[in-house]
Symmetry: C2
Subunit: 267 residues, 2 copies
């Protein structure tokens, strides 16, 4: 997808569309920073307009100058907003210490995921001594529901109708990109319901990793969340896995209690 930045379909105010396109272009250019030509190619704006908006975004802290001159990076204001966005219901702060001690104890990578429509979003990661990869990558990463352990766990919180819809929607990607068999996902979801955890569904990608995930029971009606981990297969013996599962379930249980504890009256 070369120019996924532009979506002329919906009728948003044009300036909003343009601004978002600029942010996306900047994001795509990553560490390198985005130059004018990137913006001019990535959007259909004229040079003065690009500069105008760039200036505005810089003044508001949404963009900043790169140390490499004439390059722009995402600004720290986005960092603050993003931190707030990812802390929905103070969940991340609640989860952090648990993720920390899990990573410390087992050495793998531990994740907090939340449900976002038909995707799972990674709210936080804690890498232990030996960090490993995952579908979502880092904080803010998105995965289609079904791919990955946490993803399956979250899928299991949906009612069957919604679940089927989501799976159908992602079918092509799950098969093509992740090499995952849909029917096995449904099997895995069923397993979550009576085993209380999932190993996810093995696809052809990331074959050297293994992991498990559990859902976090949430009495307050917030959007569902899950804890998961990912480790080298060679380091996850059966006994070890049992330990990890227990630890995850314990953490999830404690978090549920904490959430319940700080249920505040809503304004």
């Amino acid at each position: 997808m070369p120019t996924s930045a532009i979506r002329a379909d919906s009728a948003l105010p044009s300036t909003l569309r343009h601004v978002i396109a600029l942010l996306r272009v900047t994001s795509r250019c990553g560490v390198r920073g985005a130059g004018i030509e990137d913006y001019l190619e990535g959007t259909e704006l004229s040079r003065p307009t690009v500069y105008r908006l760039l200036k505005g975004l810089r003044e508001e802290g949404f963009l900043r100058h790169s140390p490499v001159r004439h390059r722009y990076l995402l600004g720290y204001e986005l960092l603050a907003l993003g931190a707030e966005a990812g802390n929905g219901g103070n969940l991340r702060e609640l989860a952090r210490p648990h993720l920390f001690s899990l990573a410390q104890q087992f050495g793998g990578s531990f994740y907090l995921f939340a449900l976002d429509g038909a995707h799972a979003v990674c709210l936080d990661v804690q890498n232990g001594a030996c960090a490993v990869g995952s579908f979502a990558g880092t904080m803010g990463g998105r995965v289609p529901l079904g791919a990955g352990q946490a993803s399956v766990a979250l899928l299991s919180t949906l009612d069957p109708a919604a679940r089927a819809l989501v799976l159908k929607q992602h079918q092509a990607r799950l098969c093509g990109e992740y090499h995952i068999d849909i029917s096995r996902i449904e099997q895995a979801v069923a397993d979550v319901h009576h085993a209380g955890f999932t190993r996810g569904v093995e696809g052809a990608s990331l074959p050297e990793f293994a992991g498990v995930a559990v859902t976090i029971a949430d009495p307050s009606g917030r959007s569902p969340t899950a804890l998961s981990c990912s480790m080298l297969k060679s380091q996850l013996s059966e006994a070890r896995e049992a330990e990890v599962i227990l630890a995850l379930q314990d953490a999830a249980g404690r978090m549920a209690q904490q959430i319940h504890g700080l249920l505040e009256p809503v304004s």
Copy 2:
């Protein structure tokens, strides 16, 4: 500052102003979520306009519905952009393992800060066994240069002229809000230059905490960064402090090497 969301001074496109105002209002409302009346009060927009923009922002993932109906929260797209924004130069990913093992070893809170104009921004935090507070709070938090250990360390990377300017600019806040004596900041900055670390300047706020900070030497011309820690004073004996300083300097040194190692040719 009740209505700091609106800044009519600069000549940004109005839609951009409005959008940012909406995001700020949403951010201010935090976990509770923002309702229509919040937006109508916090901005000077009409109801249809608010809805229009809200809808657009939702479609783009910059806002999302709260589980509490008729409330809006910051969307996960901001999380992704924020994560990218905070990872400038892959610095955060580089720092994470170091912060992790520091927190694991010493039990306090360890921070990665970056310079942003006249402020220090917290790029990452790692809380150890006993988490403590700090001026910046959490990821994305901003502190005026001069307040806090890392802040002083970053201040020391500026040339004297810029430093004086910044201090003058923050004078009122530093004295009034943080109860910090400017002249002592200058002293502390001088100390950084020959001792290679700083304890910051003690003000009247947060008297029960202590900490140290070191700068990260950066040959590549990125914006300056610093590592810092914060612990309960009672847990930071002199011997302990010496250990922490050494560990911080060691981590900073390794990071500098790593940065140097992955200096990539710029496009």
